[in-house]
């Protein structure tokens, strides 16, 4: 019998995911021995420790040479290890902000943190999957865990509605993705990304339509997962209805993992294809997503919903970076989406690896800023107001600078970062992506991106104005402090400011992390 050679070394890249799964199992099993009223403070601590351990292992793995593992079903490359680090950061911050949130509702249970850990393990595995079945299964691992987390608190109608909507649309998008995969398999006869180059050339010569339809369906499936317009309909309701720490995990981790897989799939599938097709596809998605996301966020007075629309807009900037990966030669013209070299100095392949670096830095920046902002939202909301829908109103932030100056400062840092205003990490990451997009020649699209992020500054700064310039509302309830939330705020604020002031070390490091296997 011919047995393929799988050794223990193949499991090494899975170590971050294995740590998370083991921690989740410990949480699930320990819950059996606890009474309903027992103290559960250790659960968040264990989750954060597991996240830190996974992140540390991921940093170590980043310096391993890129290699195939499990016969090419997965790859270990700096790209996937960096994504695992981003996921670990998001997980740790979301778990910290969940401590106070769950305690106020009397809803602390091991299952909550266990599902968060399972979802993060799925994200980490998704980032390193390089075979379509594996990609699909890992997308389902992270999706099903987040569906359950969305419906975790079931008082009232909102969480049930959010959970149900997320589940139905998520299942639908997974089916679209799977169908595209099936068509691509029919055309090439393989599901492994690294074996696809040769068969893909043949398939493009004999039945190109099948490849293109498959690729478009796969792109649509991913567009659902990253909430790109016009596949974004579920986002505001789900982000608003889900428990706030879960929203933080969704906006950071799920998005990062889906983008990682999207980039990995299309960098491979796009090879040999007329590069105009992926360029047009992602440039159009980026354009719609940036403009629509920002425009829809402007009228929101509900901060949580505003952050949901803002996460759509941020997906748009990231898609701009993805589009920049597919510019084959400057001078291709599609009017607004035209690619004409402006700087002329930067070679195209350098600009493209800059784009990949920009995407990774952006994901890290967005993870810190968004999870921090959601941690703040979760600290201010009160359960009694949820049914009335005022739990997340801008009024909650009025006069925060006088009541809790530290909180207001942290939130201001997150808002500036999300708006892309220096000296924060959000500015640096936008700069990297926009610069790469200009270097490859996507000038028109970058101008739109800059204009729409200027429009975005309006609704981010409005929160700052409320915090610093509005009086404390009458009958304001006292604000409860919690060590978890405050730890999350401190970590996120320090990172947002430090990475904004001293990006040099990280971007140098990222130059290596932007290495995709086989590139």
């Amino acid at each position: 019998m011919n047995l393929p050679n799988i050794t223990l070394a193949d499991f090494l890249p899975m170590l971050p995911a294995i740590i998370m799964v083991v921690a989740a199992s410990v949480l699930l099993l320990s819950e059996v021995f606890l009474s309903a009223t027992a103290s559960r403070g250790y659960q968040a601590v264990l989750t954060v420790v597991a996240a830190a351990a996974s992140g540390a292992v991921a940093v170590g793995l980043m310096f391993e040479p890129p290699q195939e593992v499990f016969l090419g079903f997965g790859v270990l490359d700096p790209f996937s290890s960096f994504l695992t680090l981003v996921v670990s950061v998001g997980l740790a911050l979301a778990a910290l902000s969940a401590v106070g949130f769950l305690r106020r509702r009397g809803a602390e249970r091991g299952e909550f943190y266990a599902l968060m850990l399972f979802a993060s393990a799925g994200m980490s595995l998704l980032a390193m999957s390089s075979e379509f079945i594996t990609i699909f299964v890992n997308i389902e691992v992270l999706s099903i865990a987040t569906y359950a987390l969305t419906a975790y608190l079931r008082r009232g109608t909102r969480p049930s509605e959010a959970g149900f909507k997320y589940f139905i649309l998520g299942a639908f998008s997974s089916a679209v993705l799977l169908y595209g995969t099936a068509l691509l398999y029919g055309a090439t006869g393989t599901t492994k990304l690294n074996d696809m180059a040769g068969p893909l050339q043949q398939a493009l010569a004999t039945s190109p339509a099948l490849v293109y339809v498959g690729a478009v369906l796969i792109a649509a499936g991913f567009a659902f997962k990253v909430a790109a317009v016009p596949f974004h309909m579920w986002t505001p309701d789900v982000y608003e209805g889900a428990p706030t720490p879960v929203t933080a995990l969704m906006s950071a981790g799920v998005k990062a993992a889906a983008f990682a897989s999207l980039v990995r799939v299309f960098v491979t599938v796009g090879k040999g294809m007329d590069p105009k097709l992926p360029l047009m596809l992602f440039a159009t998605l980026a354009l719609l997503t940036m403009v629509a996301g920002n425009l829809m966020a402007i009228p929101q007075r509900n901060v949580k919903r505003m952050l949901a629309y803002s996460s759509i807009a941020h997906a748009g900037y990231l898609l701009l970076g993805v589009a920049a990966l597919f510019v084959a030669a400057p001078g291709e013209h599609f009017r607004l989406l035209s690619a004409s070299s402006l700087s002329g100095g930067t070679p195209l392949d350098v600009a493209r690896s800059d784009a990949l670096r920009g995407i990774l830095y952006y994901l890290l920046a967005y993870t810190f800023s968004a999870t921090g902002a959601f941690a703040m939202v979760s600290a201010l909301e009160r359960r009694e107001d949820e049914e009335k829908g005022t739990a997340w109103d801008l009024e909650r932030f009025a006069g925060l600078a006088q009541r809790r100056p530290g909180w207001a400062f942290a939130m201001a840092a997150f808002m500036l970062s999300l708006g892309g205003i220096p000296p924060t990490v959000g500015f640096m990451s936008k700069l990297l992506i926009f610069q790469a997009a200009i270097d490859v020649g996507l000038v028109g699209l970058t101008v739109v991106a800059v204009l729409s992020s200027a429009a975005g500054a309006y609704y981010y700064l409005r929160v700052v104005v409320y915090m610093f310039m509005h009086p404390i509302p009458e009958g304001a309830q006292p604000l409860e402090r919690n060590w978890g939330t405050e730890a999350a705020l401190v970590i996120a604020t320090v990172a947002v400011v430090l990475l904004g002031i001293l990006p040099g070390h990280v971007t140098d490091w990222l130059a290596q992390a932007g290495t995709l296997f086989g590139q």
């Binding site: 393929p4 799988i6 699930l28 299952e111 594996t134 691992v141 359950a148 029919g186 099948l210 339809v213």
Partner: protein
């Protein structure tokens, strides 16, 4: 015209017809019954594809176990007939139009495909699709997705219990 082609025609048409009935039937029980027949005819297509094991599992798991669950749920929820369809709205028309567009694109694409299917050689016919061959490839070559599926099952179980638990 060989017997395989005739059988494929019968199975394909019947699969589509019963699948159509699943979404048009107004009584949930009729829908569920049409779904059973869809599963059965689909199993027939699997057999024609030389995938016997998948066909047997399809009948055992889907037409058997899953359908019983479906019927239990329908019984427990005591579902009546669905109300009459409302008037066509803009969203419905748009949805219908895009579905029809997708169908047209797929029909054209698949219609252009090479009509000569791949044939199995004698060696392949002896092993392909057998339980032994599937088992061997699942536990060796496909180890990574297999492990990921076991994680998926665990997550789904925990998730289902969490969602169904008493209210928090």
């Amino acid at each position: 015209m060989n017997i395989e082609l005739v059988l494929f025609g019968v199975f394909a048409v019947m699969t589509l017809l019963s699948a159509g009935l699943v979404i048009t039937a107004r009584s949930p029980i009729n829908s569920a019954m049409a779904l059973v027949s869809t599963f059965f005819f689909l199993a027939g297509i699997y057999v024609l594809l030389w995938a016997h094991t998948v066909a047997v599992i399809q009948v055992l798991v889907y037409a058997g176990a899953i359908m019983v669950l479906f019927l239990f749920v329908i019984m427990l929820l005591n579902l009546g007939d669905a109300p009459h369809r409302g008037k066509p709205t803009v969203t419905r028309l748009l949805g219908g139009a895009s579905a029809a567009g997708l169908l047209a694109v797929l029909a054209v694409t698949l219609g252009r495909m090479d009509a000569q299917p791949a044939r199995l050689d004698a060696q392949g016919q002896a092993t392909f699709g057998t339980l032994a061959a599937i088992g061997q490839s699942i536990f060796t070559t496909w180890l990574l997705p297999f492990e990921a599926v076991s994680l998926l099952l665990l997550v789904a179980m925990v998730g289902a219990v969490v969602v169904a638990k008493s209210r928090i």
